[in-house]
Subunit: 464 residues, 2 copies
């Protein structure tokens, strides 16, 4: 009790006393500080608001004020705030970067590994993308609208995730209902694990994608092409083959980082092939592995898998293709081979490519597409299709402009873009858009300028 | 009746009257001519003996003379021949090349296609190798011991094959019992087809490997890795993929012909991978397709399938490897992919590689190996391991010397050679040799000189 008093006393004493920031504290910040801490650092049931994206904070305060987000504590203290008050408060707290609240996190090794997996890789079998894929590489949030998770208390995150689950998609203030979809795939154990792992991170610590320990329990067996599931990453073997498979997986996810010399834009392999090429209906790599070599009308000849991958670098990455025997290529192809373990060769499996979308009732319309884009896509991909980054890392890929795929890419074909969007977008909430909406927004996306087709401009063919 | 008399009359009139050959007819040739024709051209139930390899003719005459080959017509007329008589007769008839007996062959399109298949590809499912693989590219025989089939009458061949079947391996005069094994796999329909097709060939006509008409009836389905059968060649699709698959198959069978710039010796892919890479326990290509990329201790890194194939060219072919995106490579890899249709990826199938042979009871012995070689291998591969050709085509590969695989090839490893021999040799009669005999003869084969390992001598790496 003494400690609590002392804590609150210290907190109050330091309220509004910060002198390390240019932005002066608005008067109303004192009310916030009573619960969120003098620097907005949060703790316990109170979220950290320091350093959150300014638009995110403004939105939240407006939701509380209007009652769109019902909250017995926040509604009373926000109901009389003016727009100017909200702007001042959001502006102020977004600039603060107090230390993380020291937290002892009680976490078993299994929980820690599961938490790390959810944060860095997700659990796509249950429709859960990686936390980092939206909240940023260090979970520090992605401006303007996606909040930081780093530095939040475990208690606050647990309550928040469980609230989202119990709301069953009724929380209309969540953009695109993405988090409502995500939490539906989390078990109680998952929530314990993921909140514990995040709370255990130190300030500026980037969650590392860690190669899972080889458990040896997974049995590789022949599978039906009608219902294929690639092996779990925990089944990656030890030894040189496993090392190469893991290298391929890392290149696939962060192509710009691990194969920089071949990438000329801000895309990764995983930008078009979700869940690192594992996900059905997202042009999964296991389906590609069993299909090549095959004839392609794109270049009127039979292409090996390596040649097909070279085209991804040439067009989708707007880069210089690695040669067929380059280390990057070998690692990618072995990763694909491993993903396909148990899948029969040469029989098109269910989930291959993107499922073709029937022609729309009405011709695609750019004006409708523009509105659909603004409402559903711009939050992540930016109003000008420029994508979003955070702390020097690309979080959401550009959809057009100089840093996006070029005009020779498959995604530039309207039917391909529509098929991809229908099956996979919005990210984490696929299926939200009607077929007509998908065709409209796809037409809008492909209508924009982007780098030229290198076949028409004598661009590079193969890097050596 | 008039016709028969006339025929025999003409025959007798022309006996021994040939003036077109330097070898004078021995006096005893007149007796042969009574049935086999003045020029040894044969017809009806009588075989064509003209142009047969001289050693083959000598052997046959000796077999008849001794009764080892029982024959009520031949035994009486050979029993008094001296060795010198036999040598003279064999020498004489081997030099004659009369026109083929004109024959109208009544053959349906289905029979013709089946006959052509048996002649040029065999039916390995029933342990039947292609006729051409021993009797030569034009069925003109392979000196010194393998007879010509070209020009034989259909009737004679039918009787001969049926006799071999009814003898059930009792005909000890057949070298290594190979034909006893082969005929066991032929149905009555097959005999009708294959004899009809051969009899229909014109003189010097080379049986063509013909791409089977696409029947569309074959259903590609997922198969168990424990019991895999590659699809039949009749299931090769129409269109550009099928064209490429067929190209790969042709390169595989006749690598020296279709990929000449990459081959530095007298081997083809099919020399080590029987039945054009289809055959289980003969390092089949369907098993390779689902295994690569994988780590190889040979070069201490992960190899793609293309890199593995490059090693075949570099070592087994003692040549210059085609680059990974060369037309030859693309065709081979698509052929392999097609052979693997329905086979699960990454699960080692039954029949992969060569089945490892247990260590021998006694250490391998070169002297025993030499004797085993002379008795079982030299007939085809030559006394000096030089292989055998016929009319400019390599029929049996050299096993050592300058035209054989180099010291870097897998086959140079004793255990690999032994495993291959046990499962696949003698060709068409595998299983004849005991494990000890196999180890002995393998040691004998690998003990000989051959081209050096290019890794140790700065040989070529990859052709571009």
């Amino acid at each position: 009790m003494l400690r609590t008093v002392l804590f609150f006393g210290l907190m109050l004493a330091s309220v509004v006393s910060s002198t390390s920031h240019a932005t002066p504290a608005p008067a109303s910040a004192q009310a916030c500080a009573a619960c969120h801490g003098a620097q907005g650092q949060g703790g316990g049931i109170f979220p950290r608001i320091a350093g959150q994206p300014v638009e995110f904070l403004q939105n939240e305060l407006r939701f509380f004020r209007s009652g769109a987000r019902p909250n017995p504590m926040m509604q009373p203290v926000t109901k009389n705030l003016s727009d100017a008050d909200i702007a001042a408060l959001a502006g102020y707290f977004s600039t603060l970067h107090p230390p993380f609240t020291p937290a002892h996190v009680d976490l078993s090794a299994v929980e820690r590994e599961r938490g790390q997996e959810l944060v860095t890789a997700g659990d796509w079998q249950h429709q859960v993308p990686a936390c980092t894929s939206c909240h940023g590489p260090d979970l520090g949030g992605t401006a303007p609208l996606i909040p930081a998770l780093a530095g939040q208390s475990r208690q606050y995150m647990s309550i928040g995730l469980r609230n989202m689950q119990s709301l069953h998609g009724q929380a209309r203030y969540f953009p695109l209902q993405i988090m409502s979809h995500v939490v539906a795939g989390l078990s109680d154990t998952d929530i314990t694990a993921v909140t514990g792992y995040i709370a255990s991170l130190q300030k500026n610590e980037k969650p590392t994608v860690m190669r899972p320990a080889h458990d040896g329990a997974y049995k590789f067996t022949a599978q039906s092409p009608n219902n294929f599931t690639p092996p779990p990453e925990s089944a990656i073997p030890t030894g040189p083959d496993g090392d190469e498979i893991w290298r391929g997986r890392m290149i696939f996810e962060n192509t710009r980082q691990y194969a920089a010399q071949y990438v000329g834009d801000k895309l990764n392999c995983s930008s078009c092939h979700l869940d690192n090429g594992r996900r059905a209906d997202s042009a999964p790599m296991w389906a590609a592995y069993v299909a090549y070599p095959k004839y392609r009308s794109k270049n009127h000849r039979v292409n090996t898998l390596e040649e097909r991958i070279q085209d991804c670098f040439r067009f989708s990455m707007n880069g210089k293709p690695p040669s067929a025997d380059s280390p990057v290529m070998v690692a990618l192809v072995e990763y694909f081979r491993w993903l396909a373990t148990g899948l029969p060769v040469g029989i098109t499996p269910k989930g291959a490519g993107y499922p073709p979308l029937p022609a729309p009732p009405q011709p695609p319309d750019l004006q409708r597409g523009s509105a659909i884009y603004a409402a559903n896509c711009a939050m992540c991909h930016g109003s000008n299709g420029e994508g979003r980054g955070a702390r020097g890392t690309q979080v959401f890929p550009p959809l057009w402009g100089p840093e996006s795929f070029n005009r020779g890419a498959g995604m530039q074909r309207l039917s391909t873009a529509a098929a991809f969007i229908k099956a996979n977008m919005p990210y984490g909430a696929a299926g939200l858009l009607s077929d007509q909406q998908v065709w409209d927004v796809a037409a809008f996306v492909v209508s924009h300028p982007r780098p030229p087709d290198p076949r028409l401009h004598g661009g590079p063919t193969t890097a050596h």
